[in-house]
Amino acid sequence: MNPNDIFGLAYDALVDRKVRTILTVLMVVLGASLVVVINGLSAGQSAFLQQQFSSLATNVITATSGQRSYYGGGSSQASLIINDIIVNKIKALPFVSDVVPQYTGSVTIDSYGNVQRISVTGMNPTKLTVQLPNLEFVDGSTLEPNDRSAAVVGDTIANPAGATTPFVTVGQTLKITYSYSDPAGKQEQEVRNFLVTAIMKPSGNTRIDNSLVINPDAANQLLRKSGRYDSLLVQTIDDSYVNTVQDEITSLYGKNIGTNTPQATLKVRQQATSGNAAFVEMIGIIALVVGAVGIVTTLYNSVTERIREIGTMKAIGAQNSSILALFLVEAALIGIMGATLGVTIGIISGYAMTGLSSQQGSGGPGFNISSFPPIFLPQDLIKVWFLSVLLAIGAGIFPAWKASKLSPMVALRRE
């Protein structure tokens, strides 16, 4: 039998059982599209992380007291108080070129009655470039390191996503409110007005874009820190000394000071991302296998229903190999349709999901898997396509073999 003819017969048989064929194809579509979406989203996220960290200087170590608490705050039970003594000690270490102490706290800011809850950093604003060497500011900005009421605003705070008018502009006053509970447990508030002297251009790093920088002395007072820093940016003269300095700090303070580098953070986050992606991709592959089981069932039913037809074909001279090929081609066609549709739908829904979540997006720094544009690598798509088609053909082997082994005598069975 000519391959063309086998293809034609297989196609006719699938068209004849439209509904069942469509349902089986859908099972493959589900698995393939799931795997494509997961691959695309996690590649997108990985690229996003890469880009986030690429704007950060590679010769900077972040040092925090003990196990760092993410939002800082004066009430944390730090095992070591990081004060100016420690700052000077670290500054004196070999290969350290600068140490920038930081206070951080969670505050609400008020601009003409519009309120945002954000994280504020108290540090010398001229040292922002220690961490972000390429940071730029909008026109009209001036950095006033000694002005205790000057504020530098990140791009996302100044220009919130989706808003038509900026939240603040240079020269405007911002009211900052810090809420805390006093030792007796009573809720207290500290309120101060600041003048926006500078607004950052998009830095490439979401956390910086979402930050507000004020004078360290002002922060010390506002956030009631009593001179206890939350973290230090330790700049080494060259990124090749990062490990040496890290070891040095650890040998001085042990576990009382935790050190971290952008590279290490990136690595951890990417591992977490790819771990998640591997898990969800597993689900996609399970869906594909379920689809394959569906193909086995569909084709097996088809063999049972077409037993007389198969018998007749053999009675009039069809070879076992032709019958085998016929059913394998049916499986392959289901696989090809399912894989092609699945990959297409996977790409479309990948974009649709990120489009949707950025519409509702808080714009916050949360690492939600679907908040970054997906990246669909051709080699990934091809891999998924072939995997789907091969699984489908694999699923067809048993029913096809069964059909090929039928005796031509079954053509004579009475109904």
Binding site: T312, A315, G317, A318, M409
Partner: protein, 255 residues
Amino acid sequence: MLNRDKSGPKRNSAKVVNESQVNDVSSNSIALAVKNLSKIYDSVAGKVVALQDINFTVKKGEFVSIVGPSGSGKSTLLNMIGALDRPTSGQVYINGIDIFSLKDSEIATMRNNLIGFIFQSFNLINRTTVLKNVKLPSVISGMSTSEANMRAMKILEALGIADKATQKPVNLSGGQQQRVAIARSLVNNPAIVLADEPTGNLDTKTGEDVFDMLKTLSHKFKRTIIMVTHNPELSESTDRSILIRDGRIEQDVIN
């Protein structure tokens, strides 16, 4: 309905064929030779001897009917001749070829080239057209689409159903469907055409029409046909009637 147990050739004009006249298996005039053919079925209920030491030959162009009571082994015999099943012992020669000496795949090719099957229940593929059904044996043989189409159309024209070529078999009457099946059995120009109760699913009038068509094939186109039937009248109108009883040939008469 036909009464199966009363089937069998009438004896009045009967004349017993002399075996020795047609003994040469590879003679050019012999389409089919059956030699010492036996078939024993091994089923859970025990052994069933369906055929026992069957010997006969069929000349080219002969129209032979096989009759006998139900369960006598007629279908078993036809299935062996058609190489659908292997015998327990004995040989079947078609055009001088000992078909059971061949491998299964070669037997499939033999079925495709040398044998045309007509089934009681037509066995057409209903989802596809009459033309595609008729050309299926040619397609299986690997013939080009254009030649397969041409051949199939020629036969459909000869059988007077060319106008039905693009229809689906389900939309045709039983008689028309059996004609399509006859067309399919002829498309590869086989050495013998085998028909197991081809009129069994048809009413008397339509059955006679289909039978007349087989007769025309035999007389006008010199086809070799072996037909199992329960209808004694039809059997008498063939060239020769073989009566089977309990797996043996009881009578072999020229009509």
